[in-house]
């Protein structure tokens, strides 16, 4: 029983981080109908911003940690907006394939530029927040896990608030329904799209900082594996659906953890992908997604 609860906690912790990254994918898809493959590399840039900021701060306290996270989120939001301006906006209105390939190209650019500029070797991430462990009769909960779950939950709640209750959120939803009609209503689609990218990238940065906080070895290719898993999570939950991304992330995290701790640990990735295929076979729009019929 202890082992089951412990694995559950491990799974929730990892799942929350996947959920955070998945939110970025789902947000951009929801508004723009395309997968931003460079998202996992913005995640990596966030971790590195945290690394360099942490080096200069030399402190391990809640205040300084929060400052570092906000700094990383701001830098990555700017990066996301820049990427959109340079790589995706010129292709607006062109075929989906072109944008997709550009996104993959941007991802490769960030990874390889990262290796050149930041060096391909792993760096040790500093301890941003003070950490301690709590033992509940054999089930050990680290404060790192608590921080990860709380930050994810608050960012998720913040995101829901922004999308459902603010003007810009309403604008985002309008653009996602029909960009031209939205512009006829007086919404500036460029502004909305930039904001969406900035928001998604800020979430990626938060994910990067939390990931580096939990697993303190960072390198320029660190985004590839979690990015792929988070993307699967977003699709499983229903791409374009925000609660779906969170659900998908938690589900994948928990399943991954239980499989890793079992005899079949080498099948972990295979099982994640098989799950994706099965869910798409029976519910093509994902668990919480709604199949959008093509309006002619």
């Amino acid at each position: 029983m202890t082992e089951f609860l412990q694995q559950l906690i491990n799974g929730l912790s990892v799942g929350s981080m996947y959920a955070l990254i998945a939110l970025g994918y789902t947000l951009v898809y929801g508004v723009l109908r395309f997968i931003n493959f460079a998202h996992s590399d913005v995640f990596m840039v966030g971790a590195f911003v945290g690394f360099y900021a942490g080096l200069n701060i030399h402190q391990t306290s809640w205040g300084s940690g929060v400052l570092v996270m906000i700094a990383a989120m701001l830098v990555c939001a700017a990066l996301g907006i820049l990427i959109e301006r340079l790589a995706y906006r010129p292709l607006r209105g062109r075929s989906q394939l072109s944008v997709l390939i550009t996104a993959i190209g941007m991802s490769l650019l960030l990874e390889n530029a990262g290796q050149l500029i930041l060096g391909p070797n792993e760096k040790s991430f500093p301890e941003l927040f003070p950490s301690r462990t709590f033992d509940f009769g054999g089930v050990v909960v680290s404060s790192k896990d608590i921080v990860v779950v709380l930050v994810t939950a608050s960012l998720l709640a913040l995101l829901q608030f922004i999308v459902l209750k603010t003007k810009i959120g309403t604008a985002m939803r309008a653009v996602s329904f029909n960009s031209q009609a939205a512009s006829l209503m007086g919404i500036n689609p460029n502004l909305v799209i930039s904001f969406t990218f900035g928001l998604g990238s800020a979430l990626a940065a938060a994910g990067g900082i939390l990931w580096a906080y939990k697993f303190p070895k960072i390198d320029p290719l660190m985004g590839m594996a979690p990015g792929l898993t988070a993307f699967i999570a977003a699709v499983i939950g229903g791409i374009g659906n925000i609660p779906g991304a969170a659900l998908g992330g938690l589900l994948i995290g928990i399943i991954e953890t239980f499989v890793k701790g079992s005899r079949w640990s080498t099948w972990t990735e295979a099982i994640s992908f098989v799950l994706l295929i099965l869910i798409l076979l029976f519910r093509p729009a994902g668990l919480l997604g709604k199949l959008q019929p093509e309006k002619v």
């Binding site: 060096g119 500093p126 301890e127 303190p216 890793k260 079992s262």
Partner: protein, 389 residues
């Protein structure tokens, strides 16, 4: 206009082809006997996840080459070391070695530390009949790839079956051990199976066996399963990059038993970063060399290495150094730089006095040497004991 452009493009492309062709011809006509240096190729993981290994063994190799050149070189010629970085990635070693052999025309290949990458290069060296000397690959399969493949260190049947087993049973007094293996590396999988064999034959019990792969960062799932089995110690025959994360996460989960492993732990990065030294305090690993070793050659090597590079050498540096000594000794005895002659001389290498002690190669082209156990104490690597074969 279009035709003009097309013609120019064709002219440019053919010019390019001619230039590269002439370049190729030039190097094809070149051979070591005609030039005035002896070209030695080295491939190492200078960057990437095992950068510490590449860096150390490259330093040791460079030091040896410089010292030999200062003392007049070999057969009247200077040694020229050509190094390629395999970036700790699969697939790169084959490219690097092919380039060294066919374009640089080296007389021998030195490398690698990681068994998986030595295994990648071995068939190429064997095919081209260029002797390959691995400084510290310990998977037995490496020298089984052919009679042109050698190593100047011991291999994992000894490390897992004897050294780690004896350490677990006698020093740790651990009868129930959990095993955590990296299935993505030939080294880890091999060492794990030899340890399991030796340990169970010696009366111990493997109470839990968990696996992970090369790029994994999260081991809490596997460690939780291990914790439930309540072992006396955990064997982690993996590379240093992940051992650090495993140790941190194990301590976070409340696992207090000792962790131990093999020479894959040998890197200063092992205890780098917040909490790493504390998580691994008291833990031990087996390796080929300790800078506290008390032989005149070892002490001289440590002093020279420190003077040249500003840091204390580790086992990979010492073995890199010895691999050059072995090659040079063989070239001298063979009296030529011909691949098959060097190979025959290497096969009869006996009592070579190097940084890691006396090296003699047996009929399987492996060395028979003692191992040392290093303990991590108060953030430092401290010599604990020697285990003889």
């Amino acid at each position: 206009m279009k035709r003009f452009l097309k013609f120019n493009l064709a002219a440019a492309v053919s010019a390019l082809v001619l230039i590269t062709q002439s370049g190729c011809n030039k190097s094809a006509g070149d051979n070591s006997a005609a030039s005035d240096t002896i070209k030695v190729g080295e491939f190492a993981s200078l960057t990437g996840s095992e950068a510490a290994f590449g860096r150390s063994s490259h330093n040791g190799t460079v030091l040896a080459v410089e010292q030999i050149n200062t003392n007049g070189g070999v057969l009247g010629k200077q040694l020229e070391l050509i190094t390629e970085d395999d970036q700790s990635k699969d697939g790169e070693s084959a490219t690097a070695v092919k380039k060294l052999i066919s374009r640089d025309k080296v007389v021998a290949i030195l490398g690698e530390v990681a068994s998986g990458r030595s295994l990648e290069a071995a068939p190429i060296c064997q095919e081209y009949k260029i002797p390959q000397i691995s400084p510290s690959s310990t998977n037995p399969k490496v020298t089984q790839m052919g009679d042109y493949i050698f190593r100047v260190c011991w291999e994992d049947k000894f490390q897992g079956g004897v050294v780690m087993t004896k350490f677990a049973l006698n020093s740790l007094k651990a009868k129930r051990v959990a095993l955590l293996t990296d299935v993505g590396s030939a080294y880890s999988a091999g060492l794990a199976s030899y340890f399991k064999e030796g340990f169970t034959a010696g009366g111990g019990e493997i109470v839990a066996e968990q696996k992970f792969t090369k790029d994994d960062k999260d081991f809490k799932a596997q460690l939780t399963a291990i914790k439930s089995a309540n072992p006396d110690a955990i064997a982690i025959p993996a590379y240093y990059g992940q051992v650090t994360l495993i140790a941190l996460q194990a301590r976070e989960l409340g696992i207090t038993v000792p962790l131990f492993g093999g020479d894959g732990w040998e890197a200063p990065e092992l205890i780098e970063g917040p909490g790493a030294a504390a998580a691994l305090d008291g833990c031990c690993y087996s390796t080929h060399f300790s800078p506290e070793q008390d032989s005149p050659k070892a002490r001289q090597f440590v002093a020279d290495y420190q003077k040249r590079f500003g840091v204390i050498p580790d086992a990979m540096g010492a073995l890199g150094y010895d691999s050059v000594l072995a090659l040079v000794d063989s070239i001298k005895r063979a009296g030529s730089t011909d691949g098959s002659k060097i190979r025959d001389a290497l096969a009869t290498l006996k009592d070579l006095d190097g940084a890691t002690g006396k090296t003699t190669l047996d009929e399987n082209r492996n060395a028979r040497k003692p191992a040392v156990i290093i303990e991590i104490k108060d953030g430092k690597f401290v010599y604990k004991e020697t285990v003889n074969p």
